[in-house]
Structure formats: structure tokens, C-alpha cells
Symmetry: C2
Subunit: 218 residues, 2 copies
Amino acid sequence: MKEDDIHKFNRPGLAVDVVLFTIKNNDLKVGLVRREEEPYFGKHALPGRFVRYDEPIEETARMALKLKAGINPNFVFLEQLYTFGQELKRDTRIRTVTIVYYGLVDSSKIELQDSDKFHWHSVYELPELGFDHKKIIEYAISRLRKKVIESDFAFQLMPEEFTLTELQKAYEVILHEPQDKRNFRKKLLEMKILKPLKKKKMEGAHRPAELYEFRRKG
Amino acid sequence: MKEDDIHKFNRPGLAVDVVLFTIKNNDLKVGLVRREEEPYFGKHALPGRFVRYDEPIEETARMALKLKAGINPNFVFLEQLYTFGQELKRDTRIRTVTIVYYGLVDSSKIELQDSDKFHWHSVYELPELGFDHKKIIEYAISRLRKKVIESDFAFQLMPEEFTLTELQKAYEVILHEPQDKRNFRKKLLEMKILKPLKKKKMEGAHRPAELYEFRRKG
DNA sequence: TTTCATAGTGTAGGTATTACGATAAGTAAA
DNA sequence: TTTACTTATCGTAATACCTACACTATGAAA
């Protein structure tokens, strides 16, 4: 079919953007970069990158984190969110379709890597953003919440060992509402994804808490 | 950043494929085309198309239905499923990333358009398929089921006016398991998305059924 | 008027979810 | 060493939700 001769028409640009979440200071944060080129020069934006010809798309996402945000992508859990390609004028340079991933990372693993081109911002106080990235972040938050409610997602944000109270705090930050302590523990323990370590966390003048780790499937 | 000079590297191909569902003969069907070019010449495949430079991606999906399947896309409800772009060798011609949509259509609206290049196949007896389309269809089915359970999705497969029994049949075909009549009716009526018409469907030697239509939001 | 086929309806039992407050185990201060 | 303080841990009762289940209603056809 001539109709489909792929060499005869101009291909749209294909990019990947990453909405990277972490929890810091009891707040849900998203990682943003400052753009160093047009369009939206100087504005905040999601770390992103054009997909190279020989690059699997998740690899593009990881490279964006590494090169644009200075983050070691090995510590980042990624999941594909949605592909935005309805608006023809999203990017002023060429027509671009962007595959958006969202990622979760334990902030302690990348503490050092805060730089002048990459910053964490509270999702509740977002700065002005380039492109349609604000809308994308809102969407990512709603998907994140849904996932957290119906799966074991939040572990990706936790350190190796954690207490139930710490885990509950993470859920509260993500869902942006308080959780009942007893019901929360009951629910999580029934999921059978927590493995109690025979250790306790001694900290402060109070009863020490049991430490758990995430029970990996398999 | 030179790194990102989008004109300096080769862009991957970007395509859209559509998993189009309908219900026919009490069976869940997916629409497949026969490929008329390499790769997979002569094999069955999902209707698809490369994204043109000035084409919103959902428009690409509709054009694929129109040109490859001979279906009037105005009657088709579409939702984006997932973007496949991990495998570099999916397509043997060029490296291709494909955005997959799934669609629902009331088969009565397109009855005529069954042609020699387009056919409906039971999702439970799929022929051999080109590319990774089998995997994609499986995934689309699981998403479809999930959506049907938690929303009012199935209406897209129904004609304008329908009885509760007909609607239940559609659910049963999609979920592939029988539904309890009373619980089904209770659930659907509680959703407040059904508008009873003051008509009855007279058909056969038995009590006639109440006709309903989908109550559009807003 | 009887038969046949599908339409239409309610309730009880079990399961899951929610709301809620008292005791336990450490540290620090008196 | 005793007491105060802080957070950890635990169970139950009330409610909402889901599931299973069987009979009566209404029309057409015989």
C-alpha cells in the first residue's frame, strides 16, 4: 500500500516525560527541571527527552532522569501513564507526541543529587510550568492515588526497612488525608506483603516500633 | 543543549493500532484486517496506521478504522490503552512505537461494512496474528473487563434503546461469566445511568420488556 | 382458557468497611 | 527507683455492601 509508505511522510517527534514523585518533609514532591532552551526557556518542566531511534522507551525515561535531573535511574520505579498527542502545538519546534511515565523513588537514595538544575517541588504548590505539564502532573497524582489504594505501590517510596507508622505516613502524604491507625495496620497485614524483621526501631523516649520489609513476590 | 537537537537524529516511526470490540452472536469479537504488505504479509493484524505529522493521535486511530477496516469511525468509542515501544524489532521495516487504542462499537451500526479485508473474530478463538498483536488483544480484554465492572462502559456497545436483559447479556459476554439477574438490575439501576423509556419491547410469546436508554451526563 | 416464555421483583446471611479508646514498652526527668 | 511522657500495638461493635436465591406478572400463541 502506497498509502503507508513510511518513508514518504514526515514523522512527528516522539518524546518521553517523567513525573517523578518522592516524599520529603512529610510532603509529596515532584521533580522538576529548569529549561535551558526554547520553548519555555527558564521555566520549570518535567524532565524529558526525545526518543532515540534505537532506544526502548523506558530507557528514554531513565536517560531523561539521568541527564536532565542528575538522578541515578536504578533506584527509580517507573510505570507508563499516558501518551499525549492530541494537541499539535504542544511544542513550538516540531509536532511532538509525548509518552509520560511516572516514577517513585525513596528520597533518601538520591538526597545528594539535588542540584541547581533539578529541584523537588510540593505537588500542592506547583510553580508555573512549561508545556501542558501542569495538567500532566495532576493526572499523574490521581493515578498514583488510585494505584496506592488498590495495590502495594507505596513501597517504592520507602527505604528497605520501615515501621508501620512510617508506612502510614507515606500513605497519608500521598492520599492527602489521615488514615485510621488500626484499620490501616489491619489492611496492610492482611495483604501479606509485609515481612516483620526481628528488629525494632529504637528512637526517642517511647515504645520502639517493629521493623518490616516489603515481601517481594515470588 | 546540543544533546537535544531534534533535527540531528533519526526519529522512530510512530503508529497507532486499534483493538476494536463488538458483540455479535452473543460473542465478544475483535476486528482484524489482513495485511497487504510486509512484514506479516497475508497474516491477520489489528488495523493500524502511522501517525502523520499533522494528525492528532486519536484521529490516526479513526483514520485507521476508516481506511483499513472500512468502518465509519463516528460510531466508535475510543480510549487509549497503552503505548508499546520497548521492543526495537516489533516492525521489521523501521523501529516503531505504537500507541494502542481500544474501541467499542454497536455491531448493528456497522453491519454492512464487513468486507474481505476486514473481519470480526471471536476473542476466544484468535487466528495467528502478526506483530505482538495477540498480546495486545489479551491486554485490551483485561482492561475492557475492568472498565466494564467499574463504570458504565458497556453502553458503547449497545443500540440506542435496549432492555435490561439485553444489557445483561452484553455484560455476560464481556465478562465471560453469568450475572445474577436481580443483583445486576439492582446495581445498574442504582447507578442512575438508565433512563426508562415509556415503551416496551414486544417480541415473542412472553411478557414484553421495558426499554431504556443511556442517560448522558450533563 | 391454557400453555409457554421471558420480565420483573425482595430478603436474609455473609462479608467487608468503618469508627472508636485502652494498654504496652521504652526513655527521660525527678 | 519511681513517675511522666511519647509513640506502638491491639479488638470489637455497628454499618454498609455483596451474594445467593424463587416466585409472580404479562403478553402471544395454541
